[in-house]
Symmetry: C2
Subunit: 360 residues, 2 copies
Amino acid sequence: MKTVTVALGDRSYPIYIGDCLSTPELLLKAIPHLEVMIVTNTTVAPLYLNKIKQALEGANKSVEAVVLPDGEQHKTLDTINLIFDALLEKPYSRKVALVALGGGVIGDMTGFAAASYQRGVDFIQIPTTLLSQVDSSVGGKTGVNHRLGKNMIGAFKQPLAVFIDPAVLNTLPKKEFAAGFAEIIKHGALHDEKYLSYLEANIDAIFALESNALIDAISKSCEIKASVVTQDETEQGIRATLNFGHTFGHAVETTMGYGTYLHGEAVAIGMVMAAHMSAQLGYITAEDAQRLSQLIKRASLPVESPKGMTAVQYVDAMYRDKKVDSGTLKLILLKRLGEAFVTSDFSKEDLLRTLNHFCH
Amino acid sequence: MKTVTVALGDRSYPIYIGDCLSTPELLLKAIPHLEVMIVTNTTVAPLYLNKIKQALEGANKSVEAVVLPDGEQHKTLDTINLIFDALLEKPYSRKVALVALGGGVIGDMTGFAAASYQRGVDFIQIPTTLLSQVDSSVGGKTGVNHRLGKNMIGAFKQPLAVFIDPAVLNTLPKKEFAAGFAEIIKHGALHDEKYLSYLEANIDAIFALESNALIDAISKSCEIKASVVTQDETEQGIRATLNFGHTFGHAVETTMGYGTYLHGEAVAIGMVMAAHMSAQLGYITAEDAQRLSQLIKRASLPVESPKGMTAVQYVDAMYRDKKVDSGTLKLILLKRLGEAFVTSDFSKEDLLRTLNHFCH
């Protein structure tokens, strides 16, 4: 069992990585609450809900569950209302703890519900996808989508604790596992070149779901994200580097329609494009960009722009994002492998040169 | 012009009380943002929207407005979504400032929208009812109702600044003015006996809307609420004393149906009942209770329990509240006039004795 601490003053919390689900005493220690509401979805509930429920009920708690429909299309205020319905039908007081049992969508919605129910109750995360284990479980970004934009409504809400058990990845579809791995590669690319080397050396063990390899990789990724988040909790500056690959990737997602590519797959393409532009502008070598692309390929992730998607479509999507995010278009580029930075110091021609390289 | 500071560290903010709406430079100083979205309702918009808009537009800002339907029944997540629609249709970045122009419903919804839009943007309050000026403008409680409970969904979100111009009270219906005055009386009863004497001496000037009397009373009320809130921002303890009169009052509201009594009217009845129980338990004298009741009566507020409402109905409503709020039924009683305290140190018989006194 490893522990990563997200150090945020009185909002600090531990992330436990190991055989958490077979260690009920650990859950009970972190959840002293007498009333617990587990939030999960129709896919995860049959796999793990009873196990968690029984672990908690053993300690004389009142434990209920609300099972939401599965999928990003349900990440809405309407679905959050189903959590509020369940909480108010009892009704639960401010002393209730919410437990998010599922992937990023469940974690984001449960966190926002916890931030908003009676203006704030405690919550705990048990992420069941690789993506949510290394990404959304760290940093407290919670929320829902709006028909006019993703993650546009939400709160910064830190959990009390996060329990990551790599055993749950046995039931995760391979394609989703690879998409989660894209964020692990991202952490190496933006923060730690040695970690990239480690991933290159251990990718086979990780994809074979070897427990120790998984625990090491997940822990290191959580550490990197935690170190960035503790420097800049509300994303005024350096936290934005965690969006490496995301501006190009988001353009792919919005243009191709959500669901065509998994988020991690779109980020994979975005990282290849951002690395290429970093090389083109002289920050990294073409070999560095190639090395990153190679690792992404080995993870069975896409490295090419979607067929038919044009440079103009990228530009349109990226500038629409810009309006929502801030004044000028900023990109996260690589100063070197292992160090990302936020920049608007490039011309539209620079951007178009990269886009044209990928759009045939 | 008076200024009351709500001292909450890096979330501190000023409340300006005086001819704010005729002092556009004050608004402009507090709102440096280039993009402003005013949130108001169909009742307030025709009266004050253009004035605020013009004051801000004079400084080359982009100013838009979203006009919501008026009334407590619209204080819902669905209505909040209309604010998000307006923000995302442009779309506005995190640098936008929201301005709440209206009563408590507008303030609460705008504050929650500001807390949640892109996980947090700035907001400013321009309360246009006496109730919102002395109550919801101080302390950062924001949110919406759920069909199963009032104010069950929300956030603690402090505004950047509050502008209170008593001139807007000229257009406020008398009944609503009196209901707002109930909260002013409440502040005296729970915190400052001298302030009660002041109100007794100046109630006629206040109800005649004399500017100086209004500025003094509003300032003092904001000061009292601010002093309580700064000691206990998230209501772990003393902030609960601000609910003096509210437990009985809330029972009246839920039993009679929302809208039968204005909130302040129900609180007025609740204060009379809580004062009576305080006297019955020997904390204050019957004369003290009578004195408070007398002032409430002079403000044209009700001092009697609704005809036909039974003690059992009170008990049912109060114990349902209890389940939502915490474990045991707590009441806010008066240790003396000018000092309220939270207590569960009474028997059900004590409570019934008070209820039976008021329920014929």
